[in-house]
């Protein structure tokens, strides 16, 4: 049994609801669809018990009705576990993972700025990557967003 399959077995053993949701795309790449409400449990287990000690990135996707967030976790810098959660666009709220990885603050701010997600527990701070005077409610990475949506008054001058 390969390493990837061992990881798959271990996750299914602990989280029965993941049965059939784990896909081994290739060597060192595991994709998992995690139910949003169970996400923190799986994440916590993967980080603390299975030594997935490095977060590559958090990707945000606009999938029409829903927003998806993918947490790309790496074990020993090698095997990457891609945990995907899907949330309705009306209420895209996730918990911050800055408690596990302090460095992911900027990735989470990006989710907030570019996709309009709400990250609970993220400390107040400067926006990233959009300028401070960017109009509220404008999230450029949403599929239906177009540059014309910007109000004309926005000078584009960042502070």
């Amino acid at each position: 049994m390969s390493k990837e399959e061992t990881i798959q077995q271990e996750l299914i053993k602990n989280f029965a609801f993941l049965e059939g949701k784990i896909r081994i795309a290739r060597e060192r790449r595991i994709f998992i669809d995690v139910p949003a409400d169970k996400f923190m449990e799986v994440f916590d287990y993967a980080v603390k018990k299975m030594n997935f000690n490095y977060l590559c990135i958090i990707s945000g996707l606009d999938e029409g009705e829903n927003l998806s967030f993918i947490y790309h976790l790496a074990q020993n810098y090698s095997i990457v576990l891609n945990l995907k959660i899907t949330l309705p666009k009306t209420n895209p709220v996730v918990r911050t993972v800055t408690g596990y990885f302090p460095s992911c603050e900027l990735y989470e701010r990006e989710l907030e700025d570019l996709l309009g997600a709400k990250v609970e527990g993220l400390p107040k701070g400067r926006r990233y990557p959009l300028p401070e005077d960017w109009p509220a409610g404008q999230h450029p990475l949403l599929k239906d967003w177009k540059p014309e949506n910007l109000p004309e008054s926005n000078s584009g001058k960042s502070n």
Partner: protein, 406 residues
Amino acid sequence: MAKVTIPIGPQHPALKEPASFNITLDGEKILDMIVKVGYNHRGIEKACEQRTYIQDMYLIERICGICSHTHSTCFIQAVEEIAGVQMPKRGLYIRTLVAELERIHSHLLWLGVAGHEVGFDTLLMYSWRDREIVMDLLAMLTGNRVNYAINTIGGVRRDITPEQIKTTLAQVDVLEERTKYYIQVATEEITLIERLSKVGTLSHDDAIRLGAVGPTGRASGADIDVRRDDPYAAYADLSFKVCVDNHNDVLGRTIVRVSELMESYKMIRQLLKNIPEGPVVVKVPRKIPAGEALSRYEAPRGEDVHYVKANGTDKPERVRVRAPTLANVQAVAAMLKNGYLADIPIVVAAIDPCFSCTDRMMVSMKDVNASKENVIDWKTLRKYSIDWYRQNRGLDLSKIKISKRW
């Protein structure tokens, strides 16, 4: 001297790209700092969604000027994985060859920049002069000095000839000789070591906790390297050492980078010796089947990550880019704690920052924001300067003829 807050950036001689460090100083000591990034947001991720894969290739190559091959390879690897392409071996070897040459050019560039930041311009001039050798090699192999455009989906665009292999090997010998000298400089020059040693310390634990990647992490004893841990292209066929150092400071980062240069020379020799015959590219249809892939790549600055999602058309559904600097920039604040004002340039430079990579996009939104008055054309500019000199210096320069070409 009372507490003062000084801005380093967004425009500053020490920064080659816009980023801002607001630093509160007590005399020369740093009390506090606020890092601001995001000045260079260019909208590349959004733009990628509206272009075809072939167009994206060149767009993504331009995320960064120095590690252009990095980004384009990383993106193309993801696309190829989704498309399920059986890659030709020779193509992969050439890709890896260019990647290693790029690493050499990037590290030599960094060495020069580091020298300049501590006022050691001689090192800058020497290492940039030697960098010309590798730039010429890259130009010979790919056509151009930067933005090599050697990659294409399914392989590489240009093959290499036996003569080129010979020239490359000869030039690599020259570079190796020079690099030995730089190792000597980095470990023996007194003033340089004074400025680099015990500066910008990042402990091993902090490096792991803050997720430092590349030479920044390796200089703090983190034994990480995508080339070995998650091999791509031809790296699985190569034998090389991952250079780890335990100095935890800027000196360590320098040593890691110069020793990596030596490893790169070794790798290039292996690549050129074992390069297989055969085609360099396979044909890939314009439409990529639906799917997703995460691609990782060891850029000269650390781990570069691209996530691509395809939806079955000739345009990607989503492209996500994380340049190494974004992972490293957060460690800068930890490095500068209790440091000196004079150390800021070198500590910032030591992560080899590339803020344009990091920020990826600014909305040049239909040029909406650049109103017409901001653009001064040549005639207006000339008229302005003539008027200025007439008013302020009493000189009439309007009679001066300018070259006909203009």
